[in-house]
């Protein structure tokens, strides 16, 4: 977001800066389209690179991402709130450390294990995506709640606010920026992991990439890779705009 | 005095050779329409402490920082020991000057010894010489040699400031620049540091440019004071004496504030006046010896010292008769001033003392003598020659001030 606004300088309205990224992404898609349509595609490529197939992959990817992100946000934010309450203080620092190390888990490994234990398909891929994005969002929520200035909380309690009131009216609003950053991270991570969902039969844009690599068809590969990247960057941009809009004024 | 008129010039009369000369210095910061410093010319005499003092925003710090070109002047020239240093390599120039700032800026990741050794190492001194110098400086700033291997975070504010000064003097530069060096310290430690610094300067006689916003500190520390108005316009550049007795304009008067005349007492130190002596005895001599001493002296009380000759308690004959141990007889001696303290401080202490007197001690805290109101009054009278001998002159001067 800051790049966009920095690039526009002083004379243009701020919202113009926000448009830089989506415009670039749109141009990339356009370039891809023109390049592909100018090629001679063989039968395999044609099967992969038609509107119907691409759209289906897109939808699969989005479904996975949306479902997983909603689930992760609900679960991880709740867990984050609970774990930052005083009664959980001893457990929470251990958990933050675990959450940090957990980032080293290979996403493809987690997915593979789930497939082995449970089976292939959408629902198991979903579990994998949730599991993988859980720790980062949890950590961000905990960090965000912890860094709320304790003197602000004390002031709230001193004015007679109940613990719940303090939580909902002071802590959570002040932690929103960091939580939003965590949600944004979750989205990006999930889109990335969902790319691998193809390996356990859940489809998604990763299927294009996989086919392109295994069958050695560069157009398919490039299309899949570019579309996936564009999707990830677009969603990230969208989340960034939301972050800016939803940030409480005065922070 | 000051040659003001329309030019902004500060030249000291009857002063030694100028160590630093500033010629038409100006500074306008980019993006600002008003200049921060305008056409300042000044000579800073060798071996003196020149204090820049003025209200916030008058440009005093900016001016000082132009001397070592931390802030580069927009126009004008700087001369160090007669050499034009306006355009020379700035890093090399700064190694010839010591620089002490308010927040000190000790390097937290280096030991105290390494901190002090910074400039000598840069200048290529050999290790033994550097190490000896570090020890020498630690002693100079009254810190134990064991601090060599400690880290800044282990030191108190006052200790850090001492190390800051030691570090600035490490390569023995002829010039020291100090920007509110005692500003961030508590008043008690600050006074002690000021006294120690003045003692030090009496020995080493460096040329020092000292910036402060506190007129009392300026009066205490400065050999010469430059009172600056906005854009560093010199209101008066003179000795503290002359500024206090003869302020150049209303700005200076207002800046000195009420009690200018009393402030002149800050200029005399206790060591300058004759202290009286009082019967003293060492605690360990025992009550008999003390009683004997009291009888012989004819005074109604005796001052008790410890084995290092530091004043501890006052005892009267009555106390001796009734008390058990001599250590608990009488009352503790608290009205104590160092010989470097000003008469102002002494009066302040005496007003709250029990007997209307103060005990004078040396730098180690050892007994030197006592002063009372009479002694101080005598000293004050000696300071009023102008008013005493020519009352019309004194009245005339006051009238002139009211008019301007």
């Amino acid at each position: 977001m800051t790049v966009a606004s920095a690039k526009t300088g002083g004379t243009l309205p701020r919202w113009v800066g926000y448009l830089t990224k989506p415009v670039l992404l749109g141009l990339a898609c356009l370039a891809l389209y023109f390049w592909v349509s100018g090629l001679e595609l063989d039968s395999i490529e044609q099967r992969e690179l038609n509107a119907a197939n691409i759209t289906q992959r897109f939808i699969e990817h989005l479904e996975l991402t949306a479902a997983a992100t909603v689930a992760v946000v609900v679960l991880a934010v709740s867990a984050g709130v609970l774990l930052t309450r005083p009664f959980a203080s001893r457990v929470s620092s251990v958990l933050v450390n675990v959450a940090n190390i957990g980032q080293g888990l290979p996403s493809v490994g987690v997915l593979a294990l789930l497939a082995i234990f449970f089976g292939l398909g959408f629902q198991y891929a979903l579990i994998g995506l949730i599991a993988y994005a859980f720790l980062p969002v949890l950590r961000n929520t905990m960090v965000g709640l912890r860094q709320v200035d304790s003197s602000v909380i004390e002031a709230g309690r001193g004015m007679g606010m109940s613990k719940n009131a303090v939580l909902f009216r002071i802590e959570l609003p002040l932690a929103v920026p960091i939580m939003l950053a965590g949600i944004r991270t979750a989205l990006v991570i999930t889109i990335g992991t969902a790319t691998l969902a193809t390996f356990i039969g859940a489809g998604g844009l990763g299927a294009l990439i996989e086919t392109g690599i295994s069958l050695n068809r560069t157009p398919v590969l490039v299309t899949g890779a570019v579309l996936t990247s564009v999707l990830a960057l677009f969603v990230d941009w969208l989340a960034g705009v939301a972050e800016d809009i939803l940030r409480p004024k005065g922070l | 005095m000051t040659d003001n008129g329309s030019r902004n010039v500060g030249i000291a009369k009857d002063a030694p050779e100028a160590m630093i000369r500033l010629e038409n210095l100006s500074k306008t910061f980019p993006g600002q329409t008003e200049s921060a410093v305008e056409d300042l010319s000044m000579e800073i005499p060798e071996g003196e402490i020149v204090v820049f003092v003025g209200p916030s925003g008058c440009g005093k710090t900016t001016t000082m920082k132009m001397i070592n070109r931390i802030i580069e002047p927009s126009s004008g020239r700087i001369f160090l020991q007669g050499e034009d240093v306006t355009k020379v390599n700035a890093d090399k120039l700064r190694r010839r000057m010591g620089y002490v700032i308010q927040q000190i800026g000790l390097f937290p990741h280096k030991t105290i010894a390494d901190n002090i050794a910074t400039v000598p190492m840069m200048l290529g001194w050999e290790k033994k010489r550097v190490s000896d110098r570090v020890d020498e400086l630690l002693e100079t700033v009254s810190m134990d040699l064991s601090y060599r291997s400690r880290y800044p975070k282990e030191l108190s504010g006052g200790q850090r400031q001492r190390i800051g000064v030691a570090r600035a003097m490490a390569a023995d530069p002829p010039v020291l620049l100090m920007d509110e060096p005692f500003g961030a310290i508590d008043p008690i430690t600050r006074e002690r540091l000021q006294n120690e610094f003045l003692r030090l300067q009496a020995e080493i006689k460096k040329t020092i440019v000292f910036v402060t916003h506190d007129i009392d500190e300026a009066i205490k520390m400065g050999d010469r004071i430059a009172i600056l108005q906005t854009k560093s316009r010199i209101a008066q550049f003179d000795t503290p004496e002359r500024i206090l007795t003869d302020p150049a304009n209303k700005f200076v008067e207002d800046f000195i504030g009420a009690g200018a005349s009393i402030k002149r007492l800050s200029l005399s130190q206790v060591r300058d006046i004759k202290t009286a002596s009082w019967p003293v005895a060492v605690l360990s001599e025992g009550s008999e010896a003390v009683r004997e001493l009291m009888r012989k002296s004819g005074k109604d009380s005796v001052l008790l010292l410890d084995d290092r000759r530091r004043p501890k308690r006052w005892v009267s004959a009555d106390d001796l008769a009734h008390a058990g141990r001599i250590e608990e007889a009488g009352w503790p001696a608290v009205s104590i001033v160092e010989e470097g303290s000003s008469l102002y401080d002494v009066l302040d202490t005496m007003i709250t003392s029990y007997k209307g007197s103060a005990i004078v001690v040396d730098g180690e805290g050892r007994y030197e003598g006592v002063v009372d109101f009479d002694t101080v009054l005598g000293a004050i009278n000696e300071m009023r020659p102008l008013e005493q001998q020519r009352p019309e002159l004194a009245e005339g001067a006051a009238e002139q001030r009211d008019r301007s």
Binding site: G104, L113, L221, S229 | -
Partner: protein, 216 residues
Amino acid sequence: MGFLRYLASRWEHLLELAIAHAGVVFLSLLIATVIGVTAGVLVYRRERSAEVVLAVTSTFLTIPSFALFGLLLPVFGLGWTPTVFALVVYALLPIVRNTIVGLRSVDPAITESAQGMGMSRWRRLFEIELPLAWPVILTGVRVSTLIIVGIAAIAAYVNGPGLGEDIFQGISRIGSATALNLVLGAVLAIVLLALIFDGFFALLGKLTTSRGLHDR
């Protein structure tokens, strides 16, 4: 066969893969640290340039790793080269960001007193600013390490080195008995590698940070 027996019989193979995995991670970290710290040093004083650099590196991190590997394939082919390239790209953001944050957080009073003593720009950077920013920079390297240890597993799909090989083998054999052993063995080895790397950097941090900076 049981997992433990599997481990016993195939541990040499796992070790070989683990060493390759560690090797490619370490090499990429080294390159990323050099590039990242240099970039951070160059831009930390300029607001605009810093923003551009941070935006570009964070864009890299947003691109799904599988997609990036796919894009690099036509350019670099298979094997070590695309792997190292991709890992370096992913490791850049935390390092650059932490270098910038770390350098900017040095107390201005310290740099001013250093400047006032006549320290040249280079000296100030290497003797004062970088040592003081070092703990923060090292944290950035640690974070990057954890990120790319996991991503390196995906590289196996483009014939990159490392434990990912076993994971993909296991995937291709889902349903058979060996799949679990293959995947589990590789995943555990990767987690272990992550722990070892993290411990290594924690130790490095303790050893290379001046005592004067500890426990703030």
